[in-house]
């Protein structure tokens, strides 16, 4: 048997169910690796809680009532509220906050038998592409600790890449699962908007936020996604009225005849040569498996950036109003009246990027600007979604890079927030359209930093995306590569 921490979700689930190893042994092995908090990934760990959950899993395994993922550990992005661990969303304003309930996604994974390893770092309120916006410090990339892990689910990606957890939950608003997965050489999928419940996921941009799994392989992601999704209409009105689906059951399809759309806008001058080389090679692998490449166009790709950076901040400016020092979280210690309490609390509690987006959002929703910004952005958003539908008339899935470059150096964009925004160009369109998208590792670029390929499917086509990735991973080994020293 491989070392426990080098086993993926499927392997661990099998080993646990066949009683080759106990849940307590697995949990202990992973907890041991989190000592010293490598890469600043974890924000809250409680070994007592984790071991108690593992013991409960062992009892269910012994009783024959084990769930499909019984005893397999998982780390949760800190935007999912949890009863057993503090939840901060990477913000000082929620320092020490403890939720009286678990997010639906957390609860579903727990029902499937998973054991929580704790909460992992992320950009504050999921706003960022490098995990440098966390109030609790940046996360480093396990492949090169002088580089960023991507964001906002940077802690999730780094934890999986460094084998601190076999899997992690992530959230994706404009690429926050796909881009860190790509930067850290792991696999992650953002399902169709509405597939996974948003209840208990601290809202950044409500019309875009989606939960998804991050793990080493498509096979693992399929197992996790099957457990995460499902209608939650009593708690989330935007949840899709769809039954849970077994995505693992559909991983055996051949790629013969599969039409892969290649959007020319994703392969322009902005794409770094090392990334392009890795993507081209991956496309060749898929062609060799019988897929056909079809040139397509997504003409409003560039517009996705301004559209996203209007809509997401607009929603965020309103979503973050509840953090006012009145009911929970941080409250300034000294203030003179109500307005000064609000101002000081929020000035102290929020980081720079969050403030920037709140201000942008308040501005675009203001009287006199609403039509020119917010309404216009909504119109273009619909056009972007229409462009995808035209493209899907000609292809089954769309493939391209996740990001224009590999992970950049820590602090590289510190003085230029726009540089981060521009790097989101390939992930934003699918987010705005509410389409499922995933990232899978397809090689390495400069500095032996991982490159991820993005696959975008039509609505509810997660199974098809996962199958394409799985077929690719059956023929390649990039998903098993690990950083030096791990």
């Amino acid at each position: 048997m491989t070392t426990l921490h080098n086993m993926g979700v499927a392997e661990l689930a099998h080993a646990l169910q066949t009683k080759q190893v106990s849940a307590v042994e697995v949990a202990t092995a992973f907890l041991a690796r989190t000592g010293g908090n490598p890469h600043n990934t974890f924000l809250d760990i409680d070994s007592e809680v984790t071991l108690a959950q593992a013991q409960a899993s062992d009892a269910r395994i012994a009783a024959g009532t084990a769930g499909p993922l019984e005893g397999v550990p998982i780390a949760h992005k800190d935007v999912f509220v949890t009863r057993d661990f503090a939840t901060t969303a990477g913000s000082k304003i929620l320092s020490g906050y403890r939720s009286p309930f678990d997010a639906t996604v957390v609860q579903k994974l727990s029902s499937a038998g998973m054991v929580s390893l704790g909460k992992v770092n992320c950009d504050e309120f999921a706003m960022g592409s490098a995990n440098e916006n966390s109030a609790y410090g940046a996360v480093t990339n396990p492949w090169d600790t002088t580089h960023v892990p991507g964001g906002s689910s940077g802690g999730s990606a780094a934890a999986v890449a460094a084998r601190l957890a076999p899997a992690a939950t992530g959230t994706d608003t404009g690429g926050s699962i796909r881009q860190p997965a790509s930067f850290c050489g792991i696999t992650g999928i953002k399902p169709t908007y509405g597939r996974a419940s948003r209840y208990g996921m601290i809202a950044y941009a409500s019309s875009l936020d989606q939960a998804g799994p991050m793990a080493r392989s498509a096979e693992d992601c399929a197992l996790l996604l099957s457990a995460m999704c499902g209608a939650d209409l009593d708690r989330d009105s935007t949840s899709l009225d769809m039954p849970a689906e077994n995505f693992s059951a559909k991983l055996g399809d051949s790629l013969a005849g599969l039409r892969i759309g290649i959007p020319k806008e994703f392969f322009g001058d902005g794409l770094a040569a090392d990334v392009r080389t890795a993507i081209d090679a991956a496309l060749k692998v898929l062609e060799a498996q019988g897929a056909k490449l079809v040139p397509i166009t997504l003409p409003r790709t560039e517009l996705a950036i301004p559209v996203y950076y209007i809509i997401a901040p607009a929603e965020a400016s309103s979503n973050l109003s509840r953090f006012d020092g009145v009911k929970f979280g941080h409250r300034a210690s000294a203030y003179t009246d109500l307005v000064s309490m609000y101002k000081k609390t929020r000035a102290e509690g929020f980081g720079e990027e969050v403030k920037r987006r709140i201000m942008t959002g308040a501005y675009v929703l203001s009287h006199g600007y609403y039509d020119a910004y917010y309404l216009q952005a909504q119109k273009i958003r619909r056009m972007i979604a229409d462009d995808f539908q035209r493209a899907f008339a000609e292809c089954d899935v769309i493939a391209g890079p996740v990001a224009p470059t590999v992970a950049w150096k820590l602090g590289n964009n510190a003085s230029d927030p726009l540089a981060d925004y521009l790097a989101d160009i390939f992930t934003l369109p699918a987010s705005l359209a509410g389409l499922p998208g995933m990232s899978m590792p397809v090689g390495f670029g400069e500095g032996r930093l991982p490159v991820g390929m993005q696959l975008i499917g039509n609505y509810l086509q997660e199974a098809r995306l996962l199958n394409v990735a799985h077929q690719y991973q059956l023929n390649t080994d990039f998903h098993n590569a690990k950083p030096e020293g791990v």
């Binding site: 208990g200 601290i202 409500s206 935007t238 607009a314 400016s317 309103s318 109003s321 509840r322 009911k327």
Partner: protein, 494 residues
């Protein structure tokens, strides 16, 4: 329509915004209870407290009540309406925004009609509605209970409200109050609101302005939170006088929100337009558009009780009542039911109507009693009217019987038996004197005793007859039939 009534040469223009609390069990976007009067924050769940990660889920019962209202006032029920966020910071607003409807409300247009006494005339008035939209209430700040700080009670946060907005169609405080009363009647009749004004279930804001007749609309000031019909009238009257005084003194009216202080009887500005917040309305991404199918509307319609105006039309048609009577008798379900039962018991709808609008409502108004606890049953009132109709008793005696029925302990003890009417008539000896012989004897005696009145009458003074009728009624102990007395007198004196 009569010409607009002017105050010191100014026309008064009033529009209303009313917040009716919908009578659901739970909140508009959560499952917490809306029951009034619980300990602070015991009826606020995670959603109401806006805890991180919580989301709103629409209460279908609130939507159905909005549909019922729309049907009751002939509105268009929007097939698709949108929830929007109204953003502002206040401690009793847990999310930092209120979920409301802005651009596309669920109920569009409609009208409220009512009768109104203007001098001796009864005028029919119609107020047009702009819209009615669903929204959530905020919590309450408790400033008095804590020293140096404010407490926040979120029990009310998320309570479902229907905000009903009129065109500026009212032209006096009387019209405004009549509108508010009619609206109150409608919402309580169809049962979408308990109408309890003290508890804040029915709160009115009045937008008041004045102008010279035919001129442009004046700048309005909004009087907030009028929670009694009495204050409503006082507040508007004060506001109108204040605005006219300002204009007459050469001051312009500044758009403002004002509060009425019942202790001083004055309105006082709370904030002016300069402080008006930019609410940054935008569609709430947590709630999909509210889609209401025609089927749903039809289903709600078929489950609704007969509406007051439909019932009033039926009263006119089936009972041959004047329109005014029919409207008065459909002020509440209870009075309508009481009327119908009385009319059926005696077969005299107009008499039943007269009695209910007269004696019965006089007694109800003077006491704590309502139609639900009324001591005189409809069957008894019907029996009483029958006894007038068949000349057993006269109207005066009937009033005495009614008084006994109302106050009598035996009656209060559940013996609301129509047989009590005859028993009281018997016991008090109120039976009308229908024996002409006996009456003629009394008349002859009175005529003999009052020769002066007889002479005056014969000389052409018709009033002199009263001086004869009085003693005759007295001599008969009130039991003579007044019509018969008159007829016999005329015969004897001619």
């Amino acid at each position: 329509m009569s010409a607009p009534k002017l105050v010191q040469g100014y026309e008064v223009v009033i529009g209303f915004e009313t917040h009716a609390q919908l009578s659901t069990q739970s909140k508009i976007f959560s499952r917490a209870s809306v029951a009034f009067g619980a300990e602070p924050n015991t009826q606020a769940c995670a959603v109401d407290m806006a805890l991180p990660g919580t989301l709103p889920v629409m209460n279908v019962g609130a939507v159905e009540r909005a549909i019922e209202f729309g049907l009751a006032v002939n509105s268009h029920i929007a097939e698709r309406s949108i929830f929007a966020r109204k953003n502002y910071f206040y401690p009793d607003l847990p999310k930092g925004y209120q979920i409301s409807q802005f651009e596309i409300p669920v109920v569009q247009g409609g009208e409220v009609s009512f009768f109104l006494e203007e001098g001796k005339e009864t005028v029919h008035k119609t107020v047009r509605l702009v819209r009615a939209h669903l929204e959530e209430d905020a919590g309450k700040s408790l400033h008095e209970d804590f020293i140096g700080q404010s407490g926040i009670d979120l029990n009310r946060a998320g309570t479902p409200l229907l905000e009903i907005v009129t065109e500026p169609d009212m032209r006096s405080s009387e019209e405004a109050v009549a509108y508010a009363k009619e609206l109150h009647k409608i919402v309580t009749w169809i049962g979408i609101c308990d109408g309890n004004m003290q508890e804040g279930s029915f709160r009115c804001d009045a937008n008041v302005s004045v102008r010279k007749p035919g001129g442009e609309l004046g700048t309005r000031r909004e009087i907030k939170n009028l929670n009694s019909f009495k204050f409503m009238q006082q507040a508007i009257d004060f506001e109108v006088r204040w605005q006219i005084d300002q204009i007459e003194d050469g001051h312009a009216i500044e758009q403002a929100t004002v509060l009425f202080d019942p202790d001083t009887g004055e309105t006082r500005a709370m904030r002016t337009k300069e402080d008006a917040a930019d609410y940054r309305y935008f569609p709430d991404p947590d709630l999909p558009p509210l889609v209401i199918s025609r089927d749903w509307v039809e289903r709600v319609k078929s489950d609704m009780a007969e509406l007051p105006r439909v019932m009033a039309e039926r009263f006119v048609k089936d009972y041959a009542l004047p329109e005014y009577d029919a409207t008065q008798l459909t002020q509440s379900k209870a009075v309508a039911a009481y009327f119908e039962a009385t009319a059926k018991a005696c077969g005299q709808p107009k008499l039943a109507s007269n009695w209910i609008m007269g004696e019965v409502s006089r007694r109800l108004n003077s006491g704590e009693v309502t139609f639900d606890t009324i001591p005189v049953s409809a069957a008894q009132l019907g029996a009483l009217i029958s006894r007038i109709q068949d000349n057993t008793i006269n109207n005066n005696s009937a009033k005495q019987v009614f008084e006994v029925l109302w106050t009598d302990d035996a009656n209060a003890q559940g013996a609301a038996d129509p047989a009590r009417v005859d028993a009281i008539i018997e016991a008090k000896g109120l039976k009308q004197m229908n024996d002409t012989g006996e009456l003629e004897k009394i008349i002859d005696e009175v005529l003999a005793a009052n020769p002066k009145n007889v002479e005056e009458f014969k000389a052409g003074n018709a009033k002199a007859l009263n001086g004869l009728v009085g003693p005759i009624m007295k001599a008969s102990k009130g039991k003579a039939n007044p019509a018969q007395v008159n007829a016999l007198l005329m015969k004897k004196l001619s």
